[in-house]
C-alpha cells in the first residue's frame, strides 16, 4: 500500500489517477465490458444498455446540478428532445448514427440554453420550478406536433446505421453506446480540470464571489445548461435507437425525479457518483422483480407485491442517503478507499 502523496510536477498534481493500479483496473474493466456481449443474455444486455444511457444522462444532470448548483427538473424534456430529433433525423432524413447522435445532442443543448435563461435571475427552488416549465412545454409540443412527432401514438426509429450496417440488436448497439459512454465520461472528467469546469464549481460554491472574481456568471450558467442538455440529449438519442419507438408516455415527470434521485444517491458533484447512482436506480426495479418472481413462482397471488415496494424503496433510500451520507455513494466509496489507504492510521 502506498503511503503519502508525493507530487513532483503540475501534471502529476492534475492527474485523474495518482498511481498505476487504478489505470490498470480501469483497462481491465473496459476489456470485461467489451467482452460481455459474448456471454450475456439479451435481457441483461438490454439492462446494461439502459444503465449506460442512464449514466450519460445522470452525468449531464450532475454537471448542471451537482457541479454548478443549478437544480434542473427538465431532464425528461431534454431526453425527449434528443429522442424525437433522432426519430426525425434517422427516420425522415435517414442520416447515419454518428451524425444523428451529436446533432440530437446539439438540438437538446440549444433547447437547454433557452430554458437556462431564467437562471440569470433565479436560484435554488425557484429555478427548479422554472425548469419544470421546460418539461411541460416540451411534453405539450411533443404530444401535439403530430406531423413531426407522431403525437400520442409515438414515432418509430429505424435501426442505428453505422458504417453502412444496420445495427438494431441490443448486442450491436451495446458497443456503440459503450464507446460513446467512455468518450463522454472522459470529457466530463476533464471538463472539471479546465477553466470552464472550475468556473462551474465556483458558481456553485458562491456565485456572488465568483462574479466578483471575474467569472461571467450568466455566461457560465448558460454554458452549464448547454453542456448538461447536450449529454442528456445524447442519452435521449441512444434511448430512441434502443427502444426503436418512442412516445410522450416514455418521458413523464417521474423520469426527471428518478434522475435527481440518481445524482443525489450517487453523489452530487462527482462523476463517479453519477455512475453509481445510475447503476443503483436502474437496477433497483430489476432486483425487486427478481425477488418478486422468485416468490410468485410459488405463490402466484404474490405477483404484484414487490412492484409496489419500488416507490417506497426509492423514497426510503433517498431519505436515508440524505440523512447518513449526504455526499452519496461516491463519498462512501472514498471513505472505504481512504480507510485502506491509511490503515492502520485513521487519518
Amino acid at each position: 500500500m502506498r503511503c503519502g502523496d508525493f507530487r513532483e510536477s503540475y501534471s502529476e498534481d492534475m492527474a485523474i489517477f495518482d498511481s498505476r493500479l487504478p489505470r490498470v483496473l480501469l483497462g481491465l474493466l473496459l476489456a470485461l465490458l467489451a467482452a460481455l456481449p459474448a456471454f450475456a443474455t439479451t435481457y441483461w444486455l438490454d439492462v446494461l444498455n439502459r444503465i449506460f444511457i442512464a449514466i450519460i444522462a445522470a452525468t449531464g444532470l450532475n454537471i448542471v446540478t451537482g457541479f454548478t448548483g443549478l437544480i434542473s427538473l427538465g431532464t425528461a424534456a431534454f431526453l425527449a428532445v434528443g429522442g424525437y430529433t433522432t426519430a426525425a433525423l434517422a427516420g425522415k432524413a435517414g442520416l447515419p448514427f454518428f451524425v444523428v447522435v451529436p446533432l440530437s445532442g446539439a438540438v437538446a443543448a440549444l433547447v437547454g440554453l433557452v430554458f437556462g435563461i431564467p437562471s440569470l435571475r433565479l436560484k435554488g427552488l425557484y429555478l427548479a420550478v422554472a425548469t419544470l416549465a421546460a418539461h411541460y412545454v416540451v411534453e405539450f409540443t411533443v404530444t401535439h406536433w403530430d406531423s413531426m412527432t407522431g403525437g400520442v401514438n409515438g414515432i418509430s426509429v429505424p435501426a442505428a446505421r453505422a458504417g453502412g450496417l444496420a445495427l438494431g440488436d441490443d448486442r450491436h448497439i451495446y458497443y456503440l453506446i459503450l464507446v460513446l459512454l467512455v468518450g463522454l465520461l472522459f470529457f466530463a472528467k476533464n471538463l472539471f480540470r479546465t477553466k470552464v469546469g472550475k468556473a462551474f464549481v465556483a458558481i456553485r460554491d458562491h456565485d456572488i464571489s465568483a462574479e466578483v472574481m471575474g467569472v461571467n456568471v450568466f455566461r457560465y450558467k448558460l454554458l452549464a445548461f448547454a453542456v448538461s442538455s447536450f449529454y442528456i440529449g445524447v442519452a435521449g438519442s441512444l434511448l430512441a435507437y434502443q427502444a426503436r419507438i418512442i412516445s410522450p408516455e416514455n418521458f413523464p415527470i417521474t423520469v426527471a425525479i428518478d434522475y435527481l434521485g440518481m445524482v443525489i444517491i450517487g453523489g452530487l458533484g462527482s462523476i463517479l457518483g453519477s455512475i453509481y447512482g445510475a447503476i443503483f436506480i436502474t437496477l433497483l426495479p430489476e432486483l425487486l422483480r427478481l425477488g418478486n418472481d422468485a416468490l410468485a413462482a410459488h405463490w402466484p397471488a404474490a405477483m404484484g407485491l414487490f412492484s409496489q415496494f419500488k416507490s417506497i424503496v426509492f423514497g426510503l433510500v433517498v431519505v436515508l442517503f440524505l440523512m447518513f451520507e449526504p455526499d452519496g455513494m461516491a463519498a462512501r466509496w472514498h471513505h472505504v478507499k481512504n480507510y485502506w489507504k491509511l490503515y492502520p492510521f485513521s487519518y
Partner: protein, 397 residues
Amino acid sequence: MAVTGKLLGASLAVAVAALLPSHPRAQDIKIGGIFDLTGVTADVGKPFQQGVIDAVAFVNENGGVNGKKIALVGVDYGYKIDQARAAYKRLVNDEKVVLIQGWGTGDTEALKEFVTQDKIPYFSGSFAAPLSDPAKFPYNFFVAPTYSDQLRAWLAWVKKDWGSKPGTAKVAFMFGDNAYGRAPIAAGKAYAKEIGVDVVDEEVLPPNFQDATSQLLTMKQKAVDYAYINVTTSGVRLVLGDAKKLGLGIKFGSNPYGFSEILVAVAGPLAEGVTGVMPDVPYGDPVPAMKNVEAMHQRFRPSEKGDTMYVRGFSYVLVWSEALKRADKAGQLNGPGIKAAAETLRDFSTGGLTQPVSYTSTDHRPTTTTAIYQIKGGKLVKVAEYTLPRKPDWLGL
C-alpha cells in the same frame, strides 16, 4: 422472543423460496403476461389479471391444451412503456414464451416492431382499432369490438335516446391526452357526423387529474347533453362527482374500462343512469360459462367481489387457449402457428361471456356487436345492442 423467532422463521422461508428455482415441466406451454397492477390503470388491471390467472388454472384443470399445462409467467409493468419493453424482451428471449397476454394501448403499439419481428401472438387488453388491422399489426389480437366501434355504438344509442326531441343531440368527448384516450375520437367524430349527432366539445383530462370542474364548466357553457368519458373507472368517478357538484344534467357514458361493477361500488348513487359499453357480461350474468367463472373466483378470491374485468380476463384465456389447442393439434405450437390457428376461429363461443369471436387473416376484429348497459338501481342493466357493419374502410380506424 417468540415474535423474533417467528420473524426469523418467516424471513428464512422467504429466502429459501427466493433461492429455489422454479421448474416448469418440459411439456408446459409458456405464456407471458404483462399486467398493470400498480400503475394508473391498476383499478381495472388488477381484476383483469386475476381473471387471467384463475382462467389459466381452470384450463389446466380441465384437460389443459391437449394434455399440456399452461405456465403463465406474469409481470407487472405499472403502465410504464420502458418497463413493458424490458418485460417483453425477458419473456421472449429468456423465458421463450409462445404468446403474450398484454395490456395497455401505448405499450402494445410501442412493442409492435418487436412483436412482428419475433412473431409472437400478442393479445392486448387494449381494443384500439389500429391493432385490428393485420396489415399493420399482423400478430396483434384482442377480444372485444374495437374502441371505435364501441364509441359508434354508444353514439347510435345517443341518437335513439334523443328520440324525436327538437334539434340534434349535443355530445362531448372527455379523454386523456395519450394513445388510449385518443384512440376512438376521430372515428367517433366521423360517425357522429354520419348519423346526425353534434360533437360540440372535446375536453382533455390530464393524467392523474383530481378535478374536472373546468372541463365540465366549458361543457355546461356549450349546452352539452351527452358526454363520453374515455379514461378508467377512477376517472369516471371523479367526473361524476364534479358533475353532481355543479348540478349538471349531462348524461354520461363510459368506455369499457370505465364502466363496471367497480364503478357502481365507488360511485354509488352518482352512477345512476350512466351508460357504458360492455364487451363482456356483468359478473354473475346467467350465461353458460358463468358458473365456471364464479367457481374459480369463489375458490381463489372468496373475500373479494367479482366484476366484469375479471370476466374479461377469463374470456381472453378461453380464446387464446383455444388457439393454442388448435395450433397444437396441427403440430405448430409456435408463433406463426398460433396466429394461423387463431385466424381459424369463426364465431367461437366463450360460453356467453363475450360475443362470438372470429378472426381472419385480413381482419382481426373479433366482433362488431356492442352491448350498451346502464346503471339502474345499482345494477348493470342491458339497454341496447348494436351490430355495426363490418366495413373494410373502418378496418384500423
